[in-house]
Structure formats: structure tokens, C-alpha cells
């Protein structure tokens, strides 16, 4: 079996605003019928703009929230139906790193307790062994031993993100969901954290689901990339395939809108008009048709399926 984690027809609807008397009018279709898989040691990048449901997917994989429909398999075991107790053995294999390095650390806990919390919870190792393990991980992520007993407010944003990474990898997970892990960091610190994540992946044979809105970062770190728009995957392909030969009009527009730190390589920029529609009431048919320059009648009426074009290159567009 070469799939570490696979997701089939995953859906998550959140209740929308309630009407005055009973009944919910619309559901927010945050994640709407999504399938993908992640292989061991692989990084799957998930890009999309705000409200496309990419963070919801991360939380669904970890069962921090429960799916409305669809299935999630981890190493072939179905984990989407497990209750909290039954889910517990899987916890250590699935970990998460968040965007905001401030709200993701408990300000009243010391670094040693933050990193050691999971060990304490799931293993029976002694306090001395735990200390060893925590110090070992701290070194791995580039924290100094004398920071063992410090509180989060004594650290900068980048260092806090290192603590978050340490908390995730101390459990020796197989898959780490990295939800915009560098978006809140300064440019020079971003590179440090990205390199750290890369290095850890090699050393510990991790897989990542790397969620980001920043295409440059995703391109750098991912093996394969899935592009999302309003709860759907519109295109999924190998990294190079996606960047060299994007097929979906949305992917093409995203790539062209990306500002690059190079002068004189002016490319033709495609400006998408209009705003991102609300996931509360997504457009009919292809959800992108309201902003698509190539939209035709069929796009308004029927929803395109995600189909494989070239090997491993999936596109959901009637134009293909």
C-alpha cells in the first residue's frame, strides 16, 4: 500500500445563519466532495484563497471536527467514524502546526510542558526520559537547551513557530498538517522555518499537508499541489506539471497574479474581475464561472468533474 492517508468524497457543511423562526436556510459548503491521497514522505500542497475550505480540510483530517459525509483512511483504517476514545491511538501519527504562533501556544505553560504535553498524555516514559526527548527535539528544531523552562512570551514569532513544530514532531507523527505555518512570519524568518520543515521531513520521513495561500512557498515545498476554489479541488498535479502547464483558468490566473521579486520579467497578468463568491451561496454549475473568461453555457449549468488528463494531472473544467 502506498497511501498514507486518503480522503474520499469528503464533505463538511457548517450551518449558515439561522432564520428568525427555526430552520437553517443555507449551509456553508466549506468542503464539498473532495478526494485526494498523500503518500508516505510526500508533501501535498493545498493552495487557495480565503474561504476556499483549505483549513477546514486540515482540521477534518485530524478529526478536530467531524465530516458531514465522505471517508478518511489512515494507513487503510477508516478514521472518519471513530469516536474520541477510539481516535486516540491515531492522534500521535497525525499532528498540526498553525498559522498564528501567538494564539497557538498557551501563555501560561513553559516550553518544556508545551512540548512534553503529548508525551505525558500518550506514553509511559519516565520524567527523565521525557526531559531527554524534549531537549533532543528542541535541538532538532533549533532551540537552545537553556530555553527549556521559558514561557512563550519570551520568544519571537519565528522561535514560537519552532516550538509549535517541536510540539508536533515530538510525537513522531507520520503526517503533519501545516496550516499556513509561515504566513505570519517575516521574510527572513520564513526561509528559516521552511528549511527547517524540509530538513525534518527528510530526517523523520514525514509527510506534510502544506496549506497556504502563497503559491511561491507551496511550489517550493510541495511534491504535488491541489488548487482549491470554494470548497472544491479545481486542479491537482505534480508540482512541475502544475507550474509549467496549468490547465484550469483559475490556476492560470492565480499564477499570473503572483508578484515575483524579479524585474523585467513582466508577464501577461490576467486580472480576475469580481470578488470571490460566498461559500454560503456558491454559483451554480462550475463555481468559478462567474469570474472565468472562458465560461460558456455549460459552465453555468453543470458542475465539471475532476478528471485525469495527463497522468496524475487532474482538472475540473469543461474546457478541457
Amino acid at each position: 500500500m502506498d497511501e498514507l492517508l486518503s480522503v474520499k468524497n469528503l464533505k463538511k457543511y457548517f450551518p449558515g445563519p439561522k432564520r428568525l423562526l427555526g430552520g437553517i436556510k443555507h449551509h456553508v459548503r466549506a468542503v464539498d466532495d473532495i478526494s485526494f491521497h498523500i503518500r508516505p514522505g510526500e508533501t501535498l500542497g493545498l493552495v487557495g484563497e480565503s474561504g476556499c475550505g483549505k483549513s477546514t480540510i486540515g482540521r477534518l483530517l485530524l478529526r478536530l471536527i467531524s465530516p458531514t459525509a465522505g471517508s478518511i483512511f489512515f494507513r487503510g483504517d477508516r478514521i472518519h467514524t471513530l469516536n474520541r476514545r477510539a481516535m486516540r491511538p491515531y492522534r500521535k501519527h497525525l499532528q498540526i502546526i498553525f498559522q498564528d504562533p501567538y494564539s497557538s501556544l498557551n501563555p501560561r505553560m513553559m516550553v518544556k510542558d508545551i512540548i512534553g504535553e503529548g508525551l505525558k498524555r500518550t506514553t509511559r516514559i519516565s520524567a527523565i526520559e521525557r526531559r531527554e526527548r524534549v531537549l533532543d527535539i528542541m535541538e532538532k528544531v533549533g532551540l537552545r537547551p537553556e530555553q527549556y523552562s521559558r514561557y512563550p512570551h519570551e520568544f519571537s514569532g519565528g522561535q514560537r513557530q519552532r516550538i509549535c513544530i517541536a510540539r508536533a514532531i515530538v510525537m513522531n507523527p507520520a503526517l503533519v498538517v501545516a496550516d499556513e505555518p509561515v504566513s505570519a512570519l517575516d521574510v527572513s524568518i520564513q526561509a528559516q522555518v521552511i528549511n527547517l520543515l524540509e530538513r525534518l521531513r527528510e530526517e523523520l520521513n514525514l509527510s506534510y499537508l502544506f496549506i497556504s495561500h502563497d503559491l511561491s512557498v507551496v511550489e517550493h515545498i510541495s511534491d504535488r499541489i491541489a488548487v482549491m476554489y470554494l470548497g472544491k479541488i479545481v486542479e491537482m498535479a505534480d508540482r512541475n506539471q502544475l507550474y509549467n502547464d496549468p490547465q484550469h483558468p483559475y490556476t492560470i490566473a492565480l499564477l499570473s497574479a503572483l508578484p515575483l521579486p524579479q524585474v523585467g520579467r513582466k508577464k501577461k497578468r490576467i486580472i480576475l474581475h469580481g470578488d470571490i463568491p460566498s461559500p454560503l451561496n456558491p454559483p451554480s454549475g462550475c463555481r468559478f464561472h462567474t469570474r472565468c473568461s472562458r465560461a460558456t453555457g455549460i459552465c453555468r449549468d453543470s458542475e465539471p468533474e475532476l478528471k485525469e488528463g495527463d497522468t496524475g494531472h487532474f482538472i475540473a473544467c469543461h474546457g478541457n
Binding site: 526561509a191 528549511n195 517550493h220 470578488d275
Partner: protein, 325 residues
């Protein structure tokens, strides 16, 4: 004297219980009419404080513009009485902030807010003001602008709010626009829209922009000149092409190399990104000499002890570094 805005040796300090933070420590910048100057740097480098100082919007206490000269078309803004300064804000110099929700008052309709901006500075009739506001909203591509006048900010999407902000900022056809991370809170496709609009309008009105951002890509694509700031000082300034193609300061060089750039011809194996070691120093506890020296890969002995001077390293290309002195 063809500069529209001239900042000379600006010092803005913040006095706090922990000590004095020299947020802006001797910054000199100039701006020609219609020019876009990119002001780049990481958090705490003083780029936003520089912008706020130009409008004298530094809250005092704890902040204070200690010394320097900021002249708009030859007139020193720091010497102006408060009343005259108010007349300049929003009229000859205007500003766009990162978070449109903070700068638009949620209690008033957008029509009301735009009208107010117009009527405080211009003696025109209400009907005329409505016309100009509608015209402006159309210019920023707000669909059915007349109906939108009655909308409250929360009715609008993020991108639309930022477009309304631009409309408000450009309403009086300012000579200088200070844009502080104008698109950081926006999605990539919306960011492209908003930037395009901003350039279109400023070109039309011949407005000069100081574009404060941490995004090197935006600067590369839009600015004519770039100034890089680090711990309150401009450490390199050059025409955009020179800066991106031959950065001289090790910090600029490091920043440019640390950003991932999608490369179509890149082989499958991955190269790690270039890393600038260490962290941005605390403003209360700056390193001696060149404040970048603990992170610098090309450090010389003198860097530890003495502040580097500004060095002319090319035509209009300045770097504050001992490597060239």
C-alpha cells in the same frame, strides 16, 4: 528642487517604560511627482512609522518626532501648526492602511464617509460632491456606484472595501499617497485587482506613492525606486532594477535570496532556501556598530564597533555598509 516630498534625517522615537525605541533613526528619502518608491523591510524596521511621521500621526506619548525635516513641495510639515497640518492630511497627502475595516467607520455609510472627506476640504455643493464621489467609485470599479453610497462597510467584501479606501484616498487627487501594506490582508487575485487600480489612478492624477510592504514581489513589479529598511535606518536605496539585480548590502542580498521563486526550469531535487541567520533584533537592545552585524555573512571587524556610513555604490545607488567604505 523637483522633489514633491523630501524627508531629511528623520528621527522618531518611542519612549516606553522598557526604554527608548529608536523606531526611525535618521531616515532620508525623497519622492518625485508621480514616482512610486517601495519601502521594504521586516516588522519593526520602522517603515510604517516613517509613513505615519510624514502625516504627523505618531501618538504622543509614547512617540515623538525628535528631529528631521519633512518637506512637501518645499513646505516643512514638521513646523506647521496643527490646523494647517489637518488641511494637508487627506487632501495633499493621503493614506491607505492594511486593514480597510479599521479605517472605514462601521457606523456610517460609505457615501457619507466619502462625502465628508470631500466636503471638509473643498467648498462645493452637496450635489456636486455626490457626483464626484460616484465618479470616483466608478473609477475604482465599484458596480452600480450610486446604489452603493447607502451601503455600510460591512456590506462590502474585503476587496471592495479596499477599493473604497482607495477611492477615499484618491478623492482629492493628492500629491502623495502613503500606502501601508495596502494588499497584505487580501487574497492573491484580489491583490492583483487592487494594485492595478491603485496604479491606474495614481498615474492619472500624477500622484507619487510611498509603498510600504514586506512583499518583494509587489515592489519589483511596481516601484521605480526601492529603499530597504532595517532597525530604523535605510540600509540600501537604488533604482528597482539595480536593487533586484545587483543588491549590494548583505541584508538586501539575503532577503532577495530567501524568497522562494517558482522556477520552471528547476530540477526535481530541492535546494534549501538561503537563510539569514538569527532574528530581527529588539529595538530596545540594538547591537553595537552596524545593527545587522550579528546576522551578517560578510562581517568585518569594524562592523562590530562603528555605524557604517552611506556609501555611493553606483548611480543613485546607496548602501550603508562597511564593505564599500
Amino acid at each position: 528642487m523637483d522633489n514633491i516630498l523630501d524627508i531629511q534625517d528623520l528621527h522618531t522615537f518611542f519612549y516606553t517604560p522598557e526604554g527608548t525605541a529608536k523606531a526611525v533613526n535618521g531616515v532620508s528619502l525623497s519622492l518625485k511627482p508621480g514616482e512610486i518608491l517601495g519601502l521594504v523591510g521586516e516588522s519593526g524596521c520602522g517603515k510604517s512609522v516613517t509613513n505615519l511621521s510624514v502625516l504627523r500621526l505618531i501618538s504622543d506619548p509614547p512617540g515623538k518626532i525628535v528631529s528631521g525635516k519633512i518637506s512637501l513641495d518645499g513646505q516643512d510639515l514638521l513646523q506647521l501648526p496643527k490646523r494647517d497640518m489637518r488641511k494637508i492630511r487627506g487632501d495633499r497627502i493621503s493614506m491607505i492602511f492594511q486593514e480597510p475595516m479599521i479605517s472605514l467607520n462601521p457606523a456610517y455609510t460609505i457615501g457619507n464617509q466619502l462625502m465628508e472627506a470631500l466636503l471638509t476640504h473643498r467648498k462645493i455643493s452637496r450635489a456636486e460632491a455626490v457626483n464626484r464621489v460616484v465618479e470616483m467609485l466608478q473609477m475604482v470599479e465599484i458596480p452600480s456606484a450610486e446604489k452603493r453610497l447607502k451601503d455600510y462597510p460591512h456590506h462590502l467584501s474585503g476587496g471592495m472595501r479596499q477599493r473604497v479606501m482607495i477611492a477615499e484616498a484618491m478623492l482629492l487627487r493628492p500629491q502623495v499617497l502613503l500606502a501601508d501594506e495596502p494588499t497584505t490582508a487580501l487574497d492573491v487575485t484580489i491583490q492583483a485587482q487592487v494594485l492595478e487600480l491603485m496604479y491606474k489612478l495614481t498615474e492619472e492624477f500624477d500622484t507619487a506613492i510611498i509603498l510600504v510592504t514586506h512583499n518583494l514581489g509587489i515592489v519589483a513589479e511596481s516601484a521605480q525606486r526601492v529603499a530597504v529598511m532595517y532597525t530604523g535606518r535605510v540600509i540600501e536605496e537604488a533604482p528597482v532594477k539595480d536593487l533586484f539585480e545587483s543588491p549590494r548590502h548583505p541584508y538586501t542580498n539575503g532577503l532577495l535570496r530567501s524568497v522562494p521563486v517558482p522556477d520552471q526550469n528547476r530540477p526535481a531535487g530541492r535546494e534549501p532556501l538561503y537563510e539569514i541567520e538569527g532574528i530581527v533584533p529588539n529595538l530596545f537592545d540594538l547591537p553595537s556598530g552596524c545593527s545587522f552585524h550579528p546576522r551578517c555573512s560578510r562581517i568585518k571587524d569594524i562592523c562590530r564597533h562603528e555605524q557604517p556610513p552611506e556609501v555611493e555604490v553606483g548611480t543613485n545607488h546607496m548602501a550603508r555598509c562597511w564593505l564599500y567604505a
